[in-house]
Amino acid sequence: MHLIEARDLSFRYESEWVVRNVTFTLKPGEFLGLLGPNGSGKSSLLKVVNGILRPQQGQISFENRELSSWSRRRLAQRLAMVAQEVQLDFPFTVLELVLMGRYPHLGALEFESDRDLAIARECMERLEIHDLENRLVTRLSGGERQRALVARALCQRPRCLLMDEPTAFLDLRHQLDLFTLTRELTVRHGVGALVISHDINLAAQFCDRLLVMDRGRLAVQGTPEEVIRPEYLESIYGCRLQVDRSPFSGKPRVTPVPKEEVKEYP
């Protein structure tokens, strides 16, 4: 079974296509990295995949059923999303925020049970924000906010996890922790993960496969070894790249190379 199966997907906001003829699949237990330069259509593709945007062309199915036939509630029981630039203006506590992940599992007037509370606390512990339980989300640092949002997504107990640059506000250790956690979810719990990242090296270390977008198209996809090659990535990113292997993991490693030596002005 496929979690996500996208065939020949195209989407445009106005006249210009921002996602063009994209075809890919995501299986349970798979960890996909979605790479590409700014404006290449990664976020739009993710929004098409979670049903926020309707593609004008192509087919997309979730768990072998057409995506548009899923109700939002049913979908949210299985698919969680960590979006970019989430506004947190209303003074909820971190616990309240994380508990919102239980929403699709509860009836309209149902209250969170002890089990829901236990799930929320477990997710907060995994993201190391359990000490912030009663802190208002308006008073969190960027990294803490991000981890709270990931905890909320985990609290949905999804089978499929989509994340849009989840490491943007995180320091090195928390970046590593988040990718390790995602890896764990995919390997141990069979979750499928599709994660947008600008950190090619991190993605190369953790992801099973990488998808690289360029101007709306899926330019290359494959294992990190297949994808991370200067002949592909240099033209996509528009800069010179040095590719070698990480001495630690043996995975391909990218170093951007400046066009010329930076001149020292007298």
């Binding site: 926020i52 939002r72 949210a76 979006a83 989430v86 506004q87 209303f90 909820f92 919102m100 929403y103």
Partner: protein
């Protein structure tokens, strides 16, 4: 502290107690002082504790007024909570989507036309409110659903248009009724009887129950509409339903009370500070606190000066304005 059914019950009972005390205070206060024991006996059991004159004052004048104040105050506060959440704008209030301009224009036509307060003036005011908000939602609604900022902007513009129309009417008229127009524009709770209350009360209670049933969805909608969709909310459906429901109830309340400002703006903020942002608690708490606040302000308006009664809108704004500035100061720190 997390919201549980127990916490909702205890908070509601506490605020219900406060509301009851305020209502009793209001029923006994005025040019004719009534003893609270006698008022309670008259209302709940053995009539006869008051003389005929006092009974008339209680049953014909003060009780309908207190009940109307409670219903209108609660409605405005709940309307404010819902609109602030749907528009994700802390400055939103129940009149912002055109209800103010529309109802006021309707009411003024009715008053200048010399119609009876009920059903004439209230009828056109209600129709004015509902039609304007339908117009505003129509303008803002598009292919991709109702956009919060467009909605707000069209509401502001429609209100401004009707304000101009009202100014025009007021400047050309030589009508003796102009004093009544001003009273209506500043809010007046003295005009209704049990007949109108019998319509408003069930409307408010049914409306509130339906709004309360959406409280968990509202919790998610304030996080952003996309986030709410990610978490399983049918955002467009909830939003449309709530907009219509709140507009209906608010228009009905305003038709009987006139424009009473500040309640719908400030009470939601006060309650967010007191009980938090979870709408399952925020909504009932706002209903009860808003009710008590308006009854209290109306009592002050009745007795503040000996010569005349002040419009209640003057008191809510005088009490609310400085308080709101204090809140804004506090927020900035």
């Amino acid at each position: 502290m997390r919201v549980t059914p127990v916490r909702i019950m205890t908070t509601s009972l506490l605020l219900l107690g406060v509301l009851a005390v305020v209502c009793l205070l209001s029923l006994t206060t005025g040019p004719a002082k009534l003893r609270s024991g006698a008022v309670l006996a008259e209302l709940f059991g053995s009539p006869g504790a008051l003389d005929a004159m006092e009974r008339t004052i209680l049953m014909r004048v003060r009780l309908p007024r207190v009940l109307l104040g409670a219903l209108v105050g609660g409605t405005l506060a709940v309307g404010g909570v819902v609109f602030q959440a749907l528009l994700r704008n802390p400055l939103a209030e129940p009149f912002v989507l055109g209800v103010m301009g529309g109802s006021a224009f309707g009411a003024i036509l009715g008053i200048l036309g010399g119609w009876a307060f009920f059903p004439g003036v209230t009828g056109v005011a209600f129709a004015g409110g509902i039609l304007t908000i339908a117009l505003v939602i129509g303008i803002a609604g598009g292919r991709t659903g109702i956009h919060a900022n467009t909605l707000l902007l069209s509401g502001v513009i429609v209100n401004a248009f009707f304000s101009a129309a009202i100014m025009f009417l007021l400047s050309v008229t030589r009508n003796q009724e102009i004093h009544n127009v001003l009273r209506w524009l500043m809010g007046d709770l003295s005009l209704s009887t049990f007949r109108e209350l019998a319509i408003l009360a069930p409307l408010v209670l049914i409306g509130f129950t339906l709004i309360f049933a959406s409280s968990r969805s509202l919790n998610l909608i304030v996080m952003g509409e996309e986030t709410a969709m990610h978490l399983g909310v049918q955002v467009e459906r909830v939003k449309k339903g709530l907009l219509l429901l709140v507009s209906l109830v608010v228009s009905a309340a305003v038709a009987l009370s006139g424009i009473i400002g500040f309640v719908g703006l400030i009470i939601p903020h006060v309650l967010r500070i007191l009980v938090g942002s979870d709408h399952r608690l925020l909504l009932p708490a706002s209903l009860l606190f808003g009710a008590g606040f308006l009854v209290f302000c109306d009592t002050v308006a009745r007795v503040a000066t000996t010569q005349t009664e002040l419009p209640v809108g003057v008191i809510t704004a005088l009490a609310g304005g400085p308080f709101f500035m204090y809140l804004l100061r506090r927020k900035r720190r």
